[in-house]
């Protein structure tokens, strides 16, 4: 009998302990981050929290968010989703419903983000999240006031824009380096949600730039790319384009060079900083690009200053470190939207963000969200000088305004 008594007592104590309602505090604005600090998505997840944390610290150090002559500090709640959807949802529930955050940043994964929007939407919590594949559900109708995704903002540009600017920049830099006209391209992409989504657009973008394209999808946990690369070699490509996980790209690329698959290569998600850090060298011409820009070769003094602060704060120099910049900007943007609208009311803030142009560090041109809540910014592409590990030639490519023929615009 004792044990069950113990259980009953322990159980009710547990529930009592967890039942304390969150005390409302009018002096702060609560902001939440849900991202992986452990598990398979950790390298992407860490950067979200790091970027937001840096921005929050800067805002608070400057006195907080000013509304109607009164300053309110930002209180940041960071949650680890452990790369587990159930934990992510629970964390989202906690932040949204228990703590009552006004805005949520994350997660890094398409699936988690989509499920999370079902929590943030009804609670009118702004969510800055995910990658370009969210474009599949963000439509004019679904982001309209009163619609389920009204409070959701996509952190990356429409895929046709990123693909378009990247393709153009890559072909320009490689064409110059190789010196011959580039005709045949092979695109390697992971066979997962993001990969399947973006490959549709990147292929179209290359075709729009006069390329004949073959697409090869690899299972996400591939380590030996040689069979696929040999297949690619049989297609006689001028260029091979590796999308989209920087870690995987760095596995595949050396194998391609050893097999002499193409004349030139493109690696998405590998930052020149990582290239230099790891003292990588390539005999073949190779281009790199990062979202939103490369921390190893920041194109503007503002961006450089940002990355200096960012790494000084102890962040990891990883392939995806520059993603933090997006979330850093969105945090500042959000604070500014509150200040300019003079209200924390979510509908007011969303309306404010929708009409704002925000000059952050992400790009030279001001950022804005389009009528599908997708941001726009340029892409930075860098060419690595052959046989060097720290000589880069970088260019910022502005996004195309219209999708190419046959591309639905993402």
């Amino acid at each position: 009998m004792k044990f069950w008594q113990f259980c009953a007592i322990a159980g009710s104590a547990l529930f009592a302990a967890s039942a304390q309602p969150a005390a409302a505090d009018d002096d702060t604005i609560k902001i939440g981050v849900v991202a992986a600090q452990t598990g398979a998505f950790v390298s992407a997840g860490n950067t979200i929290g790091a970027g937001v944390t840096l921005a929050v610290k800067e805002i608070n150090d400057a006195g907080g968010v000013k509304i109607g002559g009164k300053s309110r500090k930002i209180q940041l709640e960071n949650r680890d989703d452990r790369t587990d959807v159930n934990v992510a949802i629970a964390a989202g529930r906690e932040l949204v419903n228990d703590i009552g955050v006004a805005a949520l940043y994350g997660t890094e994964s398409h699936d988690f983000s989509v499920s999370m929007t079902k929590i943030t939407g009804p609670a009118k919590v702004l969510q800055f999240t995910g990658n370009s594949s969210l474009g599949a559900i963000l439509t004019k109708e679904s982001v309209a006031p009163g619609a389920p995704l009204h409070y959701t903002f996509q952190s990356e540009p429409p895929e046709f824009q990123r693909s378009g600017s990247t393709a153009r920049g890559v072909l320009k830099l490689l064409g110059k380096e190789i010196g011959a006209p580039l005709k045949n391209a092979v695109v390697f992409v992971a066979d997962d949600a993001t990969g399947q989504y973006l490959s549709e657009h990147y292929v179209k973008a290359l075709e729009a730039n006069g390329q004949h394209v073959d697409l090869i999808k690899y299972p996400p946990n591939t380590t030996d790319f040689t069979p696929l690369l040999t297949r690619a070699k049989g297609l006689n490509p001028d260029t091979v384009h590796f999308w989209y996980n920087g870690d995987v790209t760095l596995v595949a690329f050396p194998q391609a060079v050893q097999l002499k698959v193409a004349k030139g290569y493109f690696l998405f998600g590998v930052d020149p900083g990582v290239w230099a850090d790891r003292k990588l060298v390539s005999t073949a011409p190779v281009t790199l690009s990062c979202v939103p820009m490369c921390w190893g070769a920041p194109p503007t003094p503002e961006a450089k200053a940002y990355f200096d602060r960012y790494f000084a704060a102890g962040a990891v120099k990883g392939v995806q470190s520059s993603v933090s910049l997006l979330y850093y900007d969105y945090m500042h943007w959000y604070a500014k939207a509150i200040e300019e609208s003079g209200s924390t009311d979510p509908d007011t803030v969303v309306a404010q963000i929708e009409k704002m142009k925000y000059q952050g560090v992400v790009s030279k041109a001001p950022l804005y969200f389009d009528n599908r809540h997708r941001v726009s910014f340029a892409t930075e592409v860098c060419l690595v000088k052959p046989n060097t590990s720290d000589q880069f030639e970088c260019a910022v490519e502005e996004p195309p305004t219209e999708p190419p023929a046959g591309d639905n615009g993402g």
Binding site: Y218, T223, D224, T226, P227, T230
Partner: protein
Amino acid sequence: MEIFLQQLVNSLSVASVIILIGIGITLIFGLTGIINFAHGEFLMIGGMTTWLVVSNGGGFIIGLVAAVLFVGLLGFVLERGLFRLTLDRPMNGFIISLGLIVVLQHFVIRFWNSYQKSIPEPLSGVWEIGGVQIIVMRAVVVLITAVVVAITFFGISRSRYGLALRASVADQETASLMGVPVRRYITGVFIYGSMLAGLGGALMIALFPITPFIGSTIVVRGFAVALIGGLGNVAGAVVAGLVLGLMDGLSAGYGLPEWTEAYSFALMILILLLRPNGLLGGTAGPRAV
């Protein structure tokens, strides 16, 4: 033709790692009936050991030897400490191995995070023979595997100990009546299988970066090899490893690459249903639980 030859050459190096894993699995499974799903984690630990040695200034050879020895020791400790206690209930051994996967993976993550780890390629260079690119390090991996497989095969088919091992796989009790210390052979097989996994890990990290999660993908291949080749049948494991490696390579090269993994799963299921003793014959499968 070049491309086809290149595909054949490519397939060999991955087949090598699968074979190294598969031999350990086929012997352990054949002898004890324990489905050790943590065998892939042994490979991961081998790779991590090599990485630790190399990143602390040791050479690759030292790293490789350290991996072989350390994982062998790990196998010894786990056999004596855990698996020995489940010999009469192999299904419990299987569940314990699932628990071990969780423990070993997270132990590595705990101390060395979950990012992928790589070492500089120990041997660089590519030979070109008739348009076929032969990557030197891969050739070395295939060579090392071939030597190890040859030694294993010779030991098992010719030596007195190999004979006793085969007899133990077939019928432990009668083997013990003939004076074979079966328990010691079980320990020995665990150690040897673990050492091969350690070697596989060291060779793998010489070719590709690895993460703490690599074990689960590789162990399924290992079991496919063991079951297709026939339990306890080393020659079968080698043949099945080559078949699987080639199938992977050719389906990625000529088929639909996104379905590559499906082929080996499907083949494994078919073989299990149609030829439960494996293509080349092995034990009738371990005694039922």
